[in-house]
């Protein structure tokens, strides 16, 4: 009876390096885009990708293969993004973002003071357009941090309101104010940068 084939033992460090390089090549840009959309700054997004891959290496025994590698890495990154949101919320800026009355686009009587031009194109066709995506990314990056945090957690990641309130340390009323203002700013930004040119 033949002896069972011996497992070739790869030195641990080589294994780690090969794994991580593979991850960086296969998922680095996707992780980066995921982070950038939420945190708005390249340097912070880059740091988050790095932290994610380092954490993933340490925890790779936990990767059961139940989900895809990408999904698993995104899961780690998601928690790190929330940590950034939490830290930012504790260092202020929220009061400013929810304070005062948002009068942009309206006159003193509360009537529209600017035109509301038509938007053309369906969401699907817009998302297929690389240039539109760039315009959207720019508008997202231009949002104040608390507004971007609120709208990405709620609208993209579908995190329940109560949890978002805890992360951002705001009341439900203030959370809604953040989301409403984020919508208004994005609507104005896209109208000005994209829909005006591409009517």
């Amino acid at each position: 009876m033949p002896e069972p084939a011996r497992q070739t033992s790869t030195p641990r460090s080589t294994f780690i390096a090969a794994n991580a390089e593979g991850w960086l090549d296969a998922h680095g840009d996707a992780l980066f885009r995921f982070a950038l959309l939420r945190v708005g700054q390249r340097e912070i997004a880059e740091d988050l990708v790095q932290e994610t891959l380092v954490a993933a290496l340490k925890a790779r025994d936990n990767f059961a293969g139940a989900s895809s590698e990408r999904t698993w890495l995104i899961g780690i990154l998601k928690r790190k993004v929330v940590d950034v949101f939490r830290r930012r919320a504790r260092s202020g800026g929220i009061d400013e973002a929810v304070g005062g009355v948002d009068e942009t686009g309206f006159n003193q009587s509360g009537l529209w003071s600017v035109a509301v031009p038509r938007w053309s194109g369906s969401p699907e066709s817009l998302l297929r357009d690389a240039e539109f995506r760039e315009a959207l990314a720019d508008c997202m990056a231009g949002l104040a941090d608390p507004l971007r945090a609120a709208i990405t957690l709620r609208e993209i990641d579908g995190v329940p309101s109560e949890e978002v309130c805890k992360v951002l340390d705001v009341t439900p009323t203030n959370l809604w104010t953040l989301i409403h203002r984020a919508r208004n700013r994005l609507r104005e930004c896209l109208t000005a940068t994209w829909f005006k040119e591409n009517r």
């Binding site: 891959l53 995506r133 959207l136």
Partner: protein
Amino acid sequence: MRNPLHIWRILNGPCRDMTALISRSMDERLGFWKRCGYKLHLVYCRACRRYRKQLLTLREIIRGADSEAPQAAGPTLSPDARKRIQDAVQDG
């Protein structure tokens, strides 16, 4: 029962108030009079009708912003960052 003046104010709010109701209606079910207020307003206000349509479009766009673009467009890690991350990962 709400007092009639309050109801009258909801039904006759200016566009600024109506846009807030429109946005809010996307996140929760509004009370009867608030729903009546903005729906009635939409019948005669073209700007607010467009506003509402744009918010709905915006929601779909934002939700799709994470999906990979077919042409794999979008920002990528800079070569510097890539090198830095590679080094950091190798150091464990």
